[in-house]
Symmetry: C2
Subunit: 515 residues, 2 copies
Amino acid sequence: MISDMRNQEFLNKALSLLPALKETKVEVAQTVEVYKEDSEIKIEKTETYSNKQLNKGSRIYLDFGDHQVGYLHLKLGYTGSHPDAPVWMRIHFAENPVELFENAKNYSGWICSSWIEEEQIHIDTIPSEIKLPRRYAFRYVMIEILDLSNKFNLIVEDAFCTAVSSVDDEELCEFQAQSKQLARLDQIACRTLHNCMQTVFEDGPKRDRRLWMGDLRMQALANYETYQKNDMVKACLYLFAALPMQDGKVGACLFLEPEPEVDDTQMFDYSLFFINTLWDYYEATNDRETLEELWPTALRQIELAKEHLDEEYLVRDSDVLGWCFVDWNLNLNKQASAQGILLYALSAAIRITQVLGEVLEEEKLAELYCECRNAANVRLWDKEKQCYISGKDRQVSVASQVWMVLGEAVEDSAAQQLMDRVENLDNAEGMVTPYMYHNYIDALLHVGEKNKALQKLETYWGGMVRLGADTFWELYNPENADESPYGGTIVNSYCHAWSCGPAYFLRKYFKMKEE
Amino acid sequence: MISDMRNQEFLNKALSLLPALKETKVEVAQTVEVYKEDSEIKIEKTETYSNKQLNKGSRIYLDFGDHQVGYLHLKLGYTGSHPDAPVWMRIHFAENPVELFENAKNYSGWICSSWIEEEQIHIDTIPSEIKLPRRYAFRYVMIEILDLSNKFNLIVEDAFCTAVSSVDDEELCEFQAQSKQLARLDQIACRTLHNCMQTVFEDGPKRDRRLWMGDLRMQALANYETYQKNDMVKACLYLFAALPMQDGKVGACLFLEPEPEVDDTQMFDYSLFFINTLWDYYEATNDRETLEELWPTALRQIELAKEHLDEEYLVRDSDVLGWCFVDWNLNLNKQASAQGILLYALSAAIRITQVLGEVLEEEKLAELYCECRNAANVRLWDKEKQCYISGKDRQVSVASQVWMVLGEAVEDSAAQQLMDRVENLDNAEGMVTPYMYHNYIDALLHVGEKNKALQKLETYWGGMVRLGADTFWELYNPENADESPYGGTIVNSYCHAWSCGPAYFLRKYFKMKEE
């Protein structure tokens, strides 16, 4: 249920802080042929599109050189007789060339196929200049002539993209990476963030295009190290605080159109991340006024989370699908992760009370933290396996260990040893998203394993680079690059905010050493 | 080849005379189900569209009650959760319900399938109000939800059409028909004309949407008896005169967008009809200035037609497809019709010289007329068959007789007898379009066969009414209602200017007798 607890003052503040979009004209980098040979996708440069006379069935593939978010413009001309019928064309936008080999009609997964960036349009007047009204996320554009009068041939005389973002790379903080390879990881991560930074921090510019709390936390961290559009983080925090769900819960995500409104999706972890995101914002900006104004919203998330605890301060497990997100692994039991995330949020809340001088509240939260930590170590620690377990089936997973470490249920050498063991846990549920990988890297850094963190980051995000990524993906399984929890790569998002972590980690922890 | 003989002064005059479009809001008359039972199309009233909750695969059929030309507006709402993905829908517009049972993908005729009034659109924001940017000709609109997120149902809260025309029915001259049936014929003919009267007289608002000389002649005649938008006829005449082809030939048709330009299609008969249309315009308006200004253009068409004559003043036959239109019967030999049409145009030209006092020119034209008439009767008259033949195979057709009668190669009782024989000619090529039927009715009236003309008109156009026509069609073969020279009814035009003849004939020749 969505509440009427809208805070109009917060909303006005948020809306006034939302950035204007900057437009950049991007020309076609090259015209290509895209085809498959022995199931491998080949992309070859070919004659410039504007030299081609198109008729029924003709296709051209435009390569914009990098991932773009924006609007396609076409200047259309002809040869032959005056066009005497509309041009009917199909336009397919692709972030990843693999999408060009999938067919919207054959997609039957559970994600709505309306996200597939494919249009059929009719153009009544030739010559003409058209701008497609919808925004797309893409590097490649395939134009197929579905039908054309045989009295003329169509010429795409000019094609360009008006790319949009709230930031441009002139605002990007300078960064010297330790290697070319790491510089490339940073560059791709920055591009990912850049293209998700629209009016709000979107999760992905192709699909969802929404402000999600979980993604925002990571985007904000990367933002402080890169574009430093800190008012945009502030605006997003105020949006969440202005539009709570029933009982004041921070929603998992918000819609901006046609009116700002909270979705009816709620997730235990995402609501709590409001607290960490607020704290991170304060650490980056010292904006005490915001911290003060939004503290009641943060505190309310703790109160609501407490309702999930049993009498021994353990987060009750739940069978409700998606009650707590953690990762896109449907087999994952979330109880232990949720406990760790609660600890992680409580830590941030306690730090906020310290800044605000809320002594009584600090004491209560500290007490709660100890109870929850104790519950974790008494009820979820498996002495035999030497790791945390989750749920009634005592599931072992990477996620549970990572969140217990980040929530500091375990510390110092014990935490370091636990992170060492993570890799060799028998039958442990693994990680499937860069989102969970981000938290894993964070946990490695938390226990001081800098080299291992860097090596894991290079291996995982570098794997996408080796597969040709221009931006980092929503999903990446090194064992199966085409895996999709949605039943088809055509609906995967190949520029996804929660994947921008390398920019944060590399810039914060792996700067080039000063000589 | 298109010439640079553009007459800018004429063009400016034409453009300044073109009418503004009037907009009328048209609501949905009823929501229907459209289905087939034993290959017969059934249309049944059903629950109002706005009560339906639409999800993936849902269809609604909107019936706008009459043929419309205009823009579709949809007001979209939802039930359930806030829409979290675009709506992907297919919208199919149909002038005739038969179109709803054809599939664009299965059409493989020679007309460009881009004319099929079908769109696939994505709507990113719900709730929202959208106006489709393209103009359609339709009575029925089918909306199919191709995909929709399962978090909500779509509601079409309101659907309406902004209908456009340069005339409205308040301007329609009053007319008392002799019977209810004839009143209905007139009404449908007026609707046909009304919906073809846009910025120019279009041939059909669904397909082509162009100013054709042959259609204009008939539309102008109907216009003088109905909407009397005479300046629009004048504008169209000036457009043709302003934008001639090479050598000053009047083109068969013109484009208005993106710039006024003549098509490269030329037809012997269409160029000559400029003269008759100019004469008809003068008769309707007494606008001598226009007659004077456009006379050189008219005369030029005679000069160019003369180049088609052999040394005995007979129009040379041609194998070039479409050199002379006459009718959509591909087996028809056009030579005799062309000879008749030349006589018909010469008659009008002579009358113009008489008004303008161009005595020398009149004499020359009269001499040419006699030579051509003589050639027709010497070389194309078959004494045995007692009719005109056409081409080297001496083809017998209705069209040849009709045009020889209208061109007055044969007159009085001989003409009357010929028109009597037309119906019983052995193996004669018949008529396939209302366009040729119009000329046939005209020829019957010309020889004084009023009753027969009315009976033929009732039978032929009435046949379309009995098949449910809201406007008269481009093509109608009483023996096969679904015939199409284009390989599929889906590209047929069911509101076609050249079919508006009943309004002209009924109002001019069959008024209710004064008591």
